[in-house]
Symmetry: C2
Subunit: 201 residues, 2 copies
């Protein structure tokens, strides 16, 4: 389907779209190498052949840039998951499986994950719109995995939010070396049990 960017305000010209892409690419590349600190605005500008001022016109801060990078990556992840949805019987198992799949993808690029997650949780109010987009994408991925018959109830939305909270925070503790991969898995599976709980009640 259409992988259109969100901004509805000003339609970008071809060259502008290309610039934007180059920037995001450079950002992801630098992040993959050295994590959050390695994404230096001057270097991103240089690597994407754009003036520093232009970089800042496209992304008003380093955090904006990295959150946009995360949007990009999540979108890809979402499509990948769409193609091969989890097969398990129970919704909670499907969600856990989905998140573990995403987790394995992040493990392949831990530095990139570090950059994106740190930016996401460090973001202040000025980035809330962009962070919200990421959140909605994550919610969509989880809801997809749940395959609800109808629209989610308020209670189910709360469960999804709690799963997201756990997901983000567990990743952060893993990235900072305070939790093992196994522990993240256990915690994800634990929080997914809330799904059964609301299905039954």
């Amino acid at each position: 389907m259409a992988t259109e960017p969100k901004p509805a305000s000003p339609p970008l010209t071809e060259r502008q779209e290309a610039r934007r892409r180059r920037i995001l690419h450079a950002s992801a590349q630098l992040a993959s190498r050295g994590g959050f600190d390695a994404v230096q605005m001057r270097e991103v500008a240089e690597n994407s052949q754009v003036a520093l001022g232009t970089l800042y016109r496209y992304f008003p801060s380093k955090v904006h840039l990295l959150v946009a990078t995360m949007q990009d990556q999540l979108q890809q992840m979402h499509e990948t998951l769409r193609k091969r949805p989890p097969a398990a019987e129970a919704p909670s198992t499907r969600v856990a499986e989905t998140l573990m799949r995403a987790f394995r993808a992040l493990q392949r690029e831990p530095q990139l994950a570090d950059a994106m997650l740190r930016a996401l949780t460090f973001a202040d109010r000025s980035v809330s719109a962009e962070v919200d987009t990421v959140s909605r994408l994550t919610t969509a991925i989880i809801l997809d995995a749940m395959r609800l018959p109808g629209p989610p109830t308020a209670e189910q939305l709360s469960v999804v939010r709690v799963i997201e909270h756990t997901w983000h925070s567990a990743l952060v503790t893993w990235l900072s070396g305070r939790a093992s991969i196994a522990q993240v898995k256990i915690d994800i599976e634990m929080v997914c049990r809330l799904i059964d709980l609301t299905a039954a009640g």
Copy 2:
């Protein structure tokens, strides 16, 4: 690179202890006013009547300083809670009540909360020891509220971790204006249901 940051290795003299206190006080004060950004190292140094280099000897980075500030605040919170423990019947209710009490305390100083939480989630590996201390304190608070008959099982520890994840992440979304107070409450109560789940199963 002297080896004497946190570990109780070298006992501090009176004057050193006083300096440390002044620094933490200045940090909390500045944070209360303007949040994370308002805690500027030069200003902390000035307000606590300490040279910049000394400040860095006591706290090797801004994040270290703010995480230590959080330790300080949490400790107070823990004692306050010890004095008036939650009265409710069900463990899950007691935990939810406890966290909501802490939440209300944070609401009184939202800027301070912002500074501490942003530092906590932004912390990289070099701060993991200090972050871990905060995490253990939080765990202790939650376990206190649960009032388990014996030592917690592995499963219960996972539940506590998930609650902590939710707690931190929910606070972050609240601080960045993406979730209401009511929503945080709902999510906390939701995740606390996991306690009943493991008590029953």
